[in-house]
């Protein structure tokens, strides 16, 4: 058996809902049945066969040969298996992912990894706004699993995050870690705006510093603590990989004291 490939045959004119193209939903379907799956979001009724040429027969390993910023909801609620996107992904990539692995070589749209519960999401390029964040009205963002972004993250990454790890190699947009409940976010370069606004708990490790901090973050001075070394080493050996801090002492801020105030931000000395 070989993994299943969805070769993009034309650029979509409308947003496509690809949430049906996950291993559990494709299992046992013939290629003709797969070609008839509705993926359009307009009244035109676009189906898989209109946009993709499908080959291969193992639905537990899926490959999108060619991506698009309009390929929405890839890997939604996937509970196991592997998806690779060679190119860009649209909105809600890997939303509610439970287990398995999603890799995108290009960039992803808004709400990538939204309310994810487990598994690994890797984005080679940039991530849009609300990385790992909840949709409107939801009370929790990322609930578990690992998100690794090679480029920069948009605004409000880690909003209402509850558990898990987000690692962004590049810069982070305004409002990083807003309303965070718990969990860990590592950013390699500078965070814009005021990170951690209204965070209750959780940890931000900002290796490139931040534009500014709200005055409701209290400077605790240099922290030479073992946990930073333990975390750097655990990340290096796990899914996250090498991180831009090594256990050397960092400056610690505590906040946001406008709310519970049990969160912490680490900065280079």
């Amino acid at each position: 058996m070989t993994g299943m490939t969805f070769l993009k045959t034309q650029e979509p004119e409308e947003r496509l809902d690809l949430s049906a193209l996950v291993p559990a939903r494709l299992k046992g379907l013939s290629s003709a049945e797969i070609a008839r799956i509705a993926i359009g979001t307009s009244r035109r009724g676009v189906v898989v066969g209109d946009v993709f040429a499908v080959s291969g027969d193992d639905p537990s390993v899926l490959r999108f040969a060619g991506g698009s910023p309009r390929f929405d909801r890839i890997g939604e609620a996937m509970a196991g298996g592997e998806i690779t996107v060679e190119g860009d992904a649209g909105a809600r990539l890997g939303r509610m992912l439970k287990a398995g692995r999603i890799t995108v070589t290009g960039s992803a749209g808004m709400h990538a990894g939204s309310a994810m519960e487990g598994g690994v999401l890797r984005i080679g390029g940039d991530a849009g706004d609300f990385l790992g964040g909840p949709l409107a009205g939801e009370t929790m963002g990322l609930k578990g699993g690992t998100i690794v972004v090679g480029g920069r993250a948009g605004e409000r990454a880690g909003d209402r995050m509850r558990r898990g790890v987000i690692c962004v190699a590049g810069e982070a947009g305004d409002g990083l870690g807003s309303r965070m409940i718990a969990g860990t976010i590592v950013v390699g370069r500078r965070a814009a705006g005021t990170p951690g606004r209204m965070m209750k708990r959780g940890t931000l490790i900002l290796c490139g510093g931040a534009e500014r901090f709200a005055p409701t973050f209290v400077d605790n001075g240099p922290a030479d603590i073992l946990i930073l070394k333990v975390m750097a080493s655990a990340f290096a050996q796990g899914e996250v990989g090498e991180v831009p801090f090594d256990g050397a002492p960092m400056r610690r801020l505590g906040g946001d004291t406008a709310v519970l105030g049990l969160g912490e931000i680490f900065l280079p000395l």
């Binding site: 409308e14 359009g40 909105a91 409107a136 005021t194 606004r197 409701t216 400077d219 406008a258 105030g261």
Partner: protein
Amino acid sequence: MDRAWIDGRPAAEADALAAAAELLERSRQPFVGGLRTDVSGIRAALGLARRIGAIVDHGESDAIYPLLTALRDGGAFLGAPAEMKRRADRVLVLGDEVAKVAPDLLAMLTETEPDLGVRTRGDAREFRSLCRAPLDSAGRGRAEHVDCAPEDIVDVVGLVRAKLSGRRAGEGAVGGDAVAGLAEFLKGAGFAAVVFAPAELGALGTEQVFGLVSDLNETTRASTLPVSASTNAMGAALQGAWTSGFPLRVGFGRGAAEHDAALFSARRQLSGDGEADLALIVDALAEPGAGGPPCALPQIAVTSEPGAVEGARVTFAVGAAGCDHDAVFYDARFGSFVGRPADAKSELPTAAAILDALADRLGGRVADAA
């Protein structure tokens, strides 16, 4: 008097309806927006949108989305202006937009005194403002001003929250004494009202203000009066919610309403960067609007000011709601919908009549096509 135009040339209304229906039918992804109309106009617009699989948003929804976002994410204590007028003994005004957007509300609060509540009635109302420009007048009451740049207001509100709960914090932009003064002012109120414009403070800032008022309600009474530059958009959002389950920014492409506050926003769709390839814009109010986002798409205009529309493929002149015909609008003073009789009855059709006529023409054929 001409009432319809095709490509800028006067046309019979029936021909214009046929031309507009054909454009909508051929459109890959229509957008229905503007929505500056009354309740029956918005009902008709939503009905048409559902029938043709359109994306829908109000032209001024940017003015209300920070409020809607904070409301549905975290809830809020929301006061009705008429009740705050009778109960609030202390009023905190945050930001300079309030005086621009809601001068009538400020005047109502400064010119009256609370007459309800054991702790609040009978005393002159006290005011604090945290912004750049002090209040013009506080009536018989006392007003104190704390000078603050707009970008620092949310931080200062956070500092007041930290102060009220006894948590440590830094100095901030206005100094510790001013923060302590604001905290005492609110804590000592019998019933505090916090007046602010969510569009000025953003969604997170609005949530910070709602959080402050929620904290205050642990020990005393307090509520908020959020003000917006577009009560018409707020009414449309409420109507959208009771019609489709979502406060606008919905798409009916797959029949049932789907909501995405970013992808389905008017600004994105009308810019040409979205998925829409045709816009139907309703603009049928007598008073000038705040101005919606620019439209880079081919347009069908349903408007009470046909002279102001340029380059539309099809234009319909309609009456201005509440001016040329009786209308019902959302009214922020009451927090509800209120009727407004016409100034003088006009021969012009209503926006709802044109939209319903388009829906009638499209119903069968669109259903067959789907």
